[in-house]
Symmetry: C2
Subunit: 410 residues, 2 copies
């Protein structure tokens, strides 16, 4: 991680995550960074795992994302290799060669097929690495495998993050315990699809790949695809969910398995927790902002309006200034290009309506001011038309963002 | 204007604009601002004028924009009344009542029909004003009418602008001189459609409204709709072009009039000059950035990619840091969602290619560094696919933007 102050919105401590049976992991060092920090996470599933995921829709996505996109439909994993410090994006044939060498070495060391190896990378764009750079360090990474040290793993693939991100859950499904542990990184270049973001979730439940994929596809929309820091979409965004099936329960192979509901909700909560931690670590963030849009023509329309608000620099700077500037919210609604009933519009900050029926109303200024001074800001807009609803999250836009991304010479 | 330092990108002086026959104007004071600054521009066309325009597409546009939209198809103007300090947006029935009173008073004083009165307003959103607030000051504004003092007029409707904006042209059409003078305001909430921006252009040419409208509609796309400061679209954007016909030449009534070509190009140059001045006054701007995209599937696709680059906070902060960070440009291209040939992509800063054929290339670092230290930055991206091309302009994202928009308590 960079030498930045820890975000004021960070959790007090890294959470206590459960051990997930059926996997081993290590955090080691390739050397993409000066100093001694680790920059490689290696995970092995000795008996394999189901895998599902969601990947960036960027047209300039990395070679690693291309690789995962090709293997995901096969749905089985034996290994995951993730490096920080170089994104392997916009690296052309050199990037493909690096991945080929990494996969080949992994297969040799683990004894698996190429399509069972998953790759991810984050860091600088457009700088090719030597083909064997990662492969040559894999023997050491494999030798270091052990039960997961979650915090050390999260740190190994972080970049400008100011704190390591983890979330987990334990639940009982028909008398068998299921454990879920997830890790994420990301703090800038965060916008759907998806954040600039890597996230890996592991569970010892036994779930068929197609069932797992349907859960991930559904939940990503209301979690990682509902956050934005700066509207910039990464070339490397990768979410992978692995299910080792090592908890001893019978497999979940259909959508109508009665155990799926509780697992699905637990998975969603882990994904949401990780996604919100990414926003809490948004570059320069001082406040976490929840934007709810109601009364839209459709949920998709509500979502478009919510993102227009969440990505508006004028809204985000106003909140940095602790100003309930609902006029800027109205502006942002207007620019979304979605149908609204302007004379029926209303805007609420915290619990107080600042505008209703398409115009200003008197409100409790002291109460709104107190809300704006807090670390968690709640904006609700009703656009007065229908029943469409969406929630997205962002952070404020502060001098810290400029400092991190623009003050090269300070 | 606010008490802000003048933009380093400002012209040395307000230009010397020609007198336009057939109009009188005054800059007076309603009192929307504390102190003594003027906040009202009133223009009268004693013998009428053709009028054409372009208006914001915001769904929360102001009552003034609604009014202009209704009158523009009739194509004739006798008066223009513009105030700064209150945008009359999101003001519901009160905003409509204020406009009705202003129009009624103007008609009484000037002796014209309501549809010949044009209105514009800029400033705070969502604060209704008393219905007669502007109307009551109009007798004084009419009494002060004189030949235009262009700089005083530009200052009268400015808000956070750090310098008044004007541009003009004189040309000879078949032995008759034609004069064009234009004024603009805007420095934040600037994005197409259109900028947060008011612009008014006056000419003594005699041009039928439909012909004038076709020119304005064409040229706005490559001028005011090709600029962005912060991706935020205003509720008040208004461009109006008035042609008094007082220069004595025969009217231009058809698209194939041989005089139209030269006039059209002169008008486009005035609009472009004004639009670039708005970017040069972008809140916190230290650098003017021209983004050219070539090789796209279509011109529209090139434009979408160019705006993805121009609106990217990570690109804009990199340029503030004088860093030719072409990796962030690649990221922005990727997020545009437009077709590209990634292995054929190339990025140029100033005259130096920093990436070609989908990857990094060696380049003259000293030359690129020198370019990045300049006030005008030129980025060209070829996406390697077709013949689509577009140019847009923006400015860098600096601490100044945060300071102006977020440091309420500093």
């Amino acid at each position: 991680m960079k030498d930045l102050p820890i975000s004021p919105l960070a959790p007090d401590a890294f959470p206590d995550l459960p051990n997930v049976a059926g996997m081993q992991a290590s955090a080691t060092r390739v050397g993409f960074y000066a100093g001694t920090r680790n920059d490689l996470m290696t995970v092995i599933f000795p008996h394999g795992a189901s895998v599902a995921g969601a990947l960036t829709r960027s047209a300039t996505r990395s070679a690693d994302v291309d690789w995962c996109a090709a293997q995901l439909p096969k749905g089985r994993a034996r290994a995951l290799v993730v490096n920080a410090g170089n994104s392997n994006a916009f690296t052309g044939p050199a990037g493909v060669a690096k991945n080929a060498a990494t996969v080949k070495q992994t297969c040799a060391l683990v004894g698996c097929a190429p399509h069972e190896v998953f790759l991810a990378a984050t860091g600088v764009i457009g700088v090719p690495v030597a083909p064997n750079r990662v492969a040559d360090t894999l023997p050491q990474a494999i030798a270091a495998l052990a039960a997961p040290d979650w915090e050390a793993l999260a740190r190994a693939f972080s970049t400008t993050d100011t704190f390591p991100k983890g979330a987990g859950a334990c639940l009982d499904l028909d008398g068998v315990e299921v454990r879920i542990a997830g890790l994420a990184k990301g703090s800038g270049m965060i916008a759907p699809n998806m954040a600039t973001m890597l996230a890996f979730v592991f569970t010892d439940a036994d779930i068929a790949p197609s069932v797992l994929q349907s859960l991930v596809s559904a939940h990503v929309e209301t979690t990682f695809n509902a956050i934005t820091v700066d509207s910039d979409t990464s070339t490397s965004d990768t979410l992978l969910v692995f299910a080792t099936g090592a908890n001893g329960a019978s497999p979940i192979t259909t959508q109508d398995d009665p155990r799926l509901g509780a697992f699905s909700e637990a998975l969603r909560q882990v994904l949401l927790d990780l996604a919100l931690q990414v926003v809490r670590d948004g570059e320069g963030a001082q406040k976490l902002i929840q934007v709810t849009v109601e009364g839209a023509h459709s949920d998709a329309s509500a979502r478009a309006i919510a993102f227009a608000i969440a990505n508006s620099p004028l809204v985000k700077t106003a909140i940095a200034g602790e100003d309930a500037n609902w006029g800027r919210v109205v502006m942002a609604v207007g620019k979304a290009g979605e149908p609204i009933a302007v004379d029926n519009m209303a805007v609420r900050f915290g619990g107080e309506w600042t505008a209703r029926h398409g115009g200003a109303v008197d409100y409790d200024v002291a109460q709104v001011d107190a809300h704006m001074k807090g670390q968690e800001i709640d904006i609700l807009v009703n656009v007065g038309l229908g029943n469409g609803r969406a929630i997205v999250w962002t952070c404020d836009l502060t001098h810290g963002y400029i400092k991190i991304n623009g003050d090269y010479r300070s």
